[in-house]
């Protein structure tokens, strides 16, 4: 893995996501990363539709985006965190995402212990004032030492 002590956050996140085949398959892109925070985007894709009549993206694809975004928020929290895995993730679906629009996830790792990281995330489409979904989760923390 990348040497955590001198890593560039955005660069690290891009390399991290590029190594995750499922995230690549869903077309996820890193928009912004800062310590404990991450913003990812997933372009609209007809293959990810769950409701074909309305053309709405499947909740599972939104989950995958928020899960990945949460994981990046955890590994970017501090340089000693080398890896993470999801322990649990709860998603609340507020409304269907508007067809044709990219979905953006913003995640924050708001607390971390030696072994566990706590994350909240939100999924948005172009209407940034009305979230599509929110998530809260606990992640494992794999440290260097």
């Amino acid at each position: 893995m990348v040497d955590g002590r001198q890593r560039d956050n955005a660069e690290f996140a891009r390399a991290f996501i590029a190594a995750l085949p499922h995230s690549v398959a869903l077309g996820m892109q890193v928009i912004d990363v800062s310590p404990g925070q991450a913003v990812l985007e997933m372009p609209y894709d007809a293959r990810f539709v769950g409701d074909p009549d309305a053309g709405i993206i499947h909740g599972g694809a939104v989950s995958a985006l928020m899960d990945t975004c949460g994981g990046i928020a955890v590994v970017s929290r501090d340089a000693e965190v080398l890896g993470t895995a999801t322990l649990d993730l709860r998603i609340d679906y507020m409304r269907p995402a508007t067809p044709g629009q990219a979905i953006r996830a913003e995640a924050e790792c708001y607390h971390i212990t030696r072994s566990v990281a706590f994350v909240r995330a939100v999924a948005l489409d172009d209407d940034r004032d009305r979230p599509v979904a929110t998530a809260t989760g606990a992640f494992t923390v794999e440290r260097a030492s």
Partner: protein, 168 residues
């Protein structure tokens, strides 16, 4: 005393065909189910969802392990299809199954919330899931899902979700 004449039961293959056609109709309309490669094995009214291993489902290439997001999507899909199937089942079996496959587009329940517990990492092999509708009311339903790989008793993930029933 004589028993009233009974109508002859339908041949088993006719019943199976009708049920399988109804299930295929339900599943084939959703692009994301096809993208993930999920299929459903039907035994009577019981469904088992199958997620065949594919490289694009991997989230940790070092272990390797399935992506948590792919697992969540698999479980959520299993829950939704099970719930829709339970609704459709009553429809196709009504009147001893004299009705053809339900016409019109399937009406899907909407996910209100979904909570996934990741119990162990998903190995790079096929995964299976079964959902149980714990409560299905007029407006809301609660569904539990269990997923395993090699051993039915060793779950690698489980989930509970609440759904808004179609037409509400």
């Amino acid at each position: 005393m004589s028993t009233p004449p009974r109508t002859r039961p339908e041949p088993v293959q006719v019943i199976k065909q009708r049920r399988d056609a109804a299930l295929a109709k339900l599943v084939s309309t959703v692009p994301y189910i096809g993208f993930l490669g999920i299929t459903f094995d039907r035994r009577g009214d019981e469904l088992t969802a199958i997620l065949p291993y594919d490289d694009k489902l991997v989230g940790n290439p070092v272990l390797p392990a399935l992506h948590g997001g792919a697992i969540a999507a698999f479980l959520e899909t299993t829950a939704i299809v099970e719930l829709s199937w339970a609704i459709a089942w009553d429809e196709i079996e009504q009147g001893g199954g004299t009705k053809p496959v339900p016409t019109g587009k399937p009406k899907w329940p909407k996910t209100i919330d979904f909570t996934v517990d990741y119990l162990r990492s998903g190995l790079p092999r096929d995964a299976y899931a079964r959902a149980r509708v714990n409560r299905s009311g007029r407006r809301y339903a609660s569904v539990h899902v269990e997923a395993w790989q090699d051993n039915r008793a060793r779950l690698f993930a489980q989930a509970t979700g609440h759904f808004l029933m179609p037409g509400t």
